[in-house]
């Protein structure tokens, strides 16, 4: 009788102990879950703010002013766009002439040049290359191959 009682007692206290442990483990996990959820929320909020800021900093006018200050790049002109087929092979003996032809300034357009006072925005309207600007073929102009996206 006493042995049976002892077995039950041990069993009951084991179960009691594990229920106690389980309860605190669950409590701990729930706390962690709540904390992680809070963290996710605040991260999402931060991402939202950063996205807005990124978009704000990427305002085209802002980028244009930065580019004109720090980069030696200009917007692509229609005549700078060449397909890969248009670029001569290096072995081609006439390659130099062909390249020179490619990068030569476009023939004068049959257009009345827009009045000078229209070019208010000098950062966005790239200056025309002077006619004598291409003594030697400038290969860098050919880097724009195909279609810029």
């Amino acid at each position: 009788m006493a042995r049976v009682f002892l077995v039950w007692l041990v069993l009951a206290s084991c179960i009691g102990w594990s229920v106690y442990q389980m309860k605190y483990e669950v409590q701990r996990l729930e706390d962690r879950l709540a904390k992680v959820n809070r963290q996710i929320l605040s991260d999402q909020e931060a991402i939202q703010i950063l996205k807005a800021e990124w978009s704000y900093l990427n305002q085209p006018a802002h980028l244009a002013s930065l580019a004109s200050r720090f980069l030696e790049l200009e917007p692509v002109q229609p005549r700078q766009m060449v397909t890969l087929d248009g670029v001569p092979m290096r072995r081609d003996p006439t390659a130099a002439q062909q390249v020179a032809k490619l990068v030569a300034p476009a023939p004068a357009a049959p257009v009345a040049k827009p009045p000078a006072d229209l070019d208010v925005d000098t950062t966005s309207a790239p200056p025309d290359l002077p006619d004598d600007a291409v003594p030697a073929p400038d290969m860098s102009l050919l880097l724009v191959k195909g279609v810029p996206q």
């Binding site: 729930e30 709540a34 978009s55 692509v76 357009a109 257009v111 229209l118 208010v120 966005s124």
Partner: protein, 599 residues
């Protein structure tokens, strides 16, 4: 009852005690003795152990224990059963109302076609007060005004003194201000999290986006049109390309400034899909602060404003005449003398004073020739054609601000004549763009849209004119840019074609020759049109550089040319060798004569 010792009372509550004596089959188990009267009435104490002398007390105690044990057993097994059911048989997620997994953004985002954020909502802290709980409104107002410099102390004091239960002190605090207000510790002043609509790109896309109020209701533009979708936290991707939009806006702004105009509108549309790549109206406003903009700046000239477009309507007039078959590219009309009509005289701006061929009429923008073409086709034909091009109804576009065209009622012969050169009918720029797009893209009217289409998605269109007419119109529009009034819109390599239009603005009782509306509608590359470009300048004034001309050829056309030369590379349009297309696009200016087609 009072003198009964507590311990001797029955263990079961009085509510369990039956009023009538137990039935016979229960009697053996019944712990309180047989035939006992339970009613306390009578004052006897025999209900307690009534008839106890008949049973042994041990037996009674035993029976009582069994009953109590059984009841406890029942309760515990119920609990156990329920426990098993909840945990093992039908387990459900723990209900945690306090846990929010998704960001509580009330309104969806708006992005451009490349995913650049145009409108978003950010959580902001607002401070409000319950005036009934504010002890000293004057002191509280003084303290609040000190940490929040942009509020008016007197206003706040008045608000705090009102008997209401909720007043805003200030919305959208900075974190610093929130900290400061919190530190004041004024009773009755509370914080609240609210969403604030933010437009990071400022005024670049203002008229398209519109704006929403502090309570996140869309009040204008896409914000209003798609209010339900946005409020369901769905995001919207527009067809607008921010880079193109910015270029178009810059060039239009520069033209408006140069010619000291009232404003302007410019549109770039994909001629095949109807997607609007850029939609600009100037002056515009900052959607972050819409209240500070004057009404004129909030007026969308591109979609809501309707204007008499002038000669650019000759695109529709010529297409109508060619498509109805009343004339061909070889047709000729007498433009020798102005046409008197009523008290007006229809004359030519670039008068040639001779018979002109159809291409010449279009190239020189001859009003006389156009009128004669329209008269030959007839009023019903003209009316039906313009109706087919959807010029009589507001355009179907994802905006609430859509102008209804002004069309003549009734449509007399004089209307037919004036409409031939774009007077007497007012449509919005978006009408012109959609119509011209149909004229040149092979004859299919595609409804314009502000929502991005999937790549390769072919929108349902309707055929409004024949492919042959469309091809003729492309040649004619190319001719205008090569040799006519649109030379200033030419961009080497991009095969621009278009038509200029200059209209006298209608005033009370007539037309004002000093107030012009100059517009240019073109497409590139015209041999295979990809994009339609429209530029309109409202009341431009000539400058020295334009020899004081304010007509479209000097104002709108150069702006369109600059726009095309800048957006062409961006949109991935490959320039072509224009000379190789010269023959294909050539038009015989003097049909029937021995002279070769002009190049």
């Amino acid at each position: 009852m009072t003198d009964v010792p507590f311990a001797t009372r029955p263990l079961v509550g009085t509510s369990l005690v039956p009023v009538s004596p137990p039935r016979s089959w229960l009697r053996r188990l019944w712990p309180f003795g047989a035939g006992a009267s339970f009613a306390p009435a009578g004052g006897a104490l025999d209900w307690l152990d009534g008839g106890a002398e008949a049973r042994h007390p041990v037996e009674i105690g035993h029976n009582r224990l069994i009953v109590v044990g059984a009841l406890f057993g029942l309760v515990f097994s119920t609990i156990a059963g329920r426990l098993v059911e909840i945990t093992l048989l039908s387990p459900t997620e723990p209900h945690m109302s306090s846990v929010r997994r998704a960001l509580p953004i009330e309104r969806g985002e708006i992005t451009d076609r490349n995913g650049v954020l145009l409108a978003t909502s950010l959580g902001m802290i607002s401070v409000y007060a319950d005036p009934r709980k504010v002890l000293d409104p004057a002191h509280a107002a003084q303290q609040l005004a000190r940490v929040l410099p942009d509020i008016n102390e007197a206003t706040i004091r008045a608000r705090l003194s009102s008997g209401r239960s909720f007043v805003y002190v200030k919305r959208d605090l900075t974190p610093r201000q929130e900290y400061d207000v919190n530190r004041l510790g004024i009773p009755g002043v509370y914080f609240q999290r609210e969403d604030r609509r933010l437009y990071p790109q400022g005024s670049i896309v203002s008229h398209v986006l519109g704006f929403s109020d502090v309570d996140n209701h869309g009040l204008a533009g896409v914000e209003k049109f798609m209010d339900e979708r946005l409020r369901a936290s769905e995001s919207v991707q527009l067809s607008i390309d921010l880079r193109v939009q910015n270029i178009v806006r810059q060039e239009l702004a520069s033209a408006v400034e140069t010619f000291t105009a009232l404003g302007g509108a410019a549109v770039v549309m994909d001629a095949q899909t109807g997607e609007l790549i850029a939609l600009v109206s100037l002056p515009d406003f900052d959607p972050n602060e819409p209240g500070q903009a004057p009404a004129d700046a909030r007026f969308d000239r591109a979609t809501l404003g309707v204007y008499e477009m002038g000669s650019s309507f000759k695109i529709f007039n010529t297409a109508m005449a060619l498509d109805s078959g009343t004339t061909t590219l070889a047709g000729r009309f007498d433009a020798t003398h102005p046409i008197p009509i009523g008290r007006f005289l229809i004359s030519d701006y670039h008068a040639e004073k001779r018979w002109l061929s159809v291409p010449e009429i279009f190239m020189y923008s001859s009003n006389i020739g156009s009128v004669r073409m329209a008269l030959e086709a007839g009023t019903p034909t003209q009316r039906a054609f313009l109706d087919r091009l959807h010029l009589f109804q507001p355009v179907k576009l994802e905006l609430p601000e859509l102008g209804k065209p002004h069309i003549p009622m009734p449509w007399r012969q004089i209307n037919t004549m004036t409409i031939a050169f774009g007077h007497g009918i007012s449509v919005s720029p978006i009408h012109v763009v959609a119509g011209v797009s149909a004229v040149i893209n092979g004859g299919i009217y595609v409804p314009p849209t502000l929502v991005k289409r999937e790549p390769g998605e072919v929108p349902p269109g309707e055929r409004v004119l024949s492919p042959k007419t469309s091809e003729s119109m492309r040649k004619l529009m190319r001719l205008v840019v090569e040799q006519g009034t649109g030379k200033n819109a030419a961009v080497p390599g991009y095969m621009v074609g278009g038509k200029t239009g200059t209209a006298d603005k209608a005033t009370k009782g007539g037309y004002n020759e000093k107030a012009l509306l100059s517009d240019f509608v073109g497409a590139f590359p015209i041999n295979d049109p990809k994009y339609v470009v429209f530029v309109m300048i409202d009341e431009p004034h000539g400058t020295k550089a334009t020899y004081h001309f304010a007509t479209a050829g000097w104002t709108a056309a150069p702006a369109a040319g600059r726009i095309i030369s800048r957006i062409g590379p961006l949109l991935g349009v490959m320039p072509v060798d224009e000379a190789s297309f010269a023959k294909a696009m050539a038009v015989d200016l003097h049909p029937g004569s021995a002279r070769v087609a002009a190049q």
